[in-house]
Subunit: 153 residues, 2 copies
DNA sequence: AGGCAATTGCGAATCATTAGCAATCGTGAA
DNA sequence: TTCACGATTGCTAATGATTCGCAATTGCCT
């Protein structure tokens, strides 16, 4: 089952000395099966359903490790906290609705072209990246109940 | 002088009831003249040189206001804190070197094409966005002293 | 000039994330 | 298979960035 395949997966890309623990297996499994991006707290919440004693520190440590191992990608939306997703579920990018917060994923061959261009023009070796567009989705655009929030209120 | 032009600039786009204060003028002036992106702490440091009593809260409040007014753009790099820059100094994007942290700005007409594509394909009205590529710059790529930092060390 | 609401400064609060440390548990060698 | 050592965990406390609460100021409209 998935636990096993994660174990092999993890072990295969571990650096020497790195251990495969049940916590890491659980967390990686959760992120893998979480169709899309999740934040640390969501992962923590789901992990506790399976292992009520798991610690938030462990979640953060695992995320940091997975990121360093290249297994997951850290995303920076408009918010104060980060989101994570397995990498690469094919290179895709995000579009966030400023009204309802919905995140739509998209992909475009043009992005590969941009990366090439940057590599060439600026002599920079691009290893990853993020494209986050913001705007309004169709639903939110149609309802004119766009209550403009004042700053201090 | 710049103070005055900023005053006119600010007043012109203020909502009714919004005030033009010396603090806001100072802060906006600093961001405008800060060729490129700066973070809140850097702005605070520079602002104190001119007004030692200015408060960090005021800096954050002004940034939030300027962002809401559309005067500055908030950038999310790999870090825990945000960066800001005046908007739009022409639509451009960023490339961060993972080794030395240098940020290179670039622009590409392809990005406009992506936005159009997204608008069309997903019925999403894009109002802004961010493209952050990461990789290694030429200098860091050449020095093979790429000391790989272990996670816990 | 005068008054009221917007803004400031300060300190404390909050939120996400990280660090310290003793107890535990994978794992490679015997 | 067992052992021992070091990697990892789970606490809890610390940190760093950002926001809040509130009394004191101060733009700005009349």
């Amino acid at each position: 089952m998935e636990q096993d395949s994660s174990a092999a997966y993890l072990r295969a890309r571990s650096l020497p000395g790195q251990r495969v623990t049940p916590q890491r297996l659980l967390l990686l499994g959760l992120i893998r099966r979480a169709q899309g991006h999740v934040d640390a707290d969501e992962i923590y919440r789901r992990a506790r359903e399976r292992n009520p004693h798991i610690s938030l520190s462990t979640v953060y440590r695992a995320l940091r490790l997975f990121k360093k191992m290249g297994l997951v990608e850290e995303l920076h939306f408009n918010e104060e906290h980060h989101h994570y997703e397995v990498k690469p579920p094919s290179q895709h990018y995000h579009m966030v609705c400023m009204e309802c917060g919905k995140v739509i994923e998209f992909l475009s061959p043009l992005i590969g072209r941009i990366v090439e261009e940057v590599n060439r023009e600026y002599d920079f070796t691009v290893t990853g990246g993020e494209v986050s567009l913001v705007g309004y989705c169709q639903e939110c655009r149609s309802q004119e109940t766009r209550t403009e929030a004042k700053l201090d209120e």
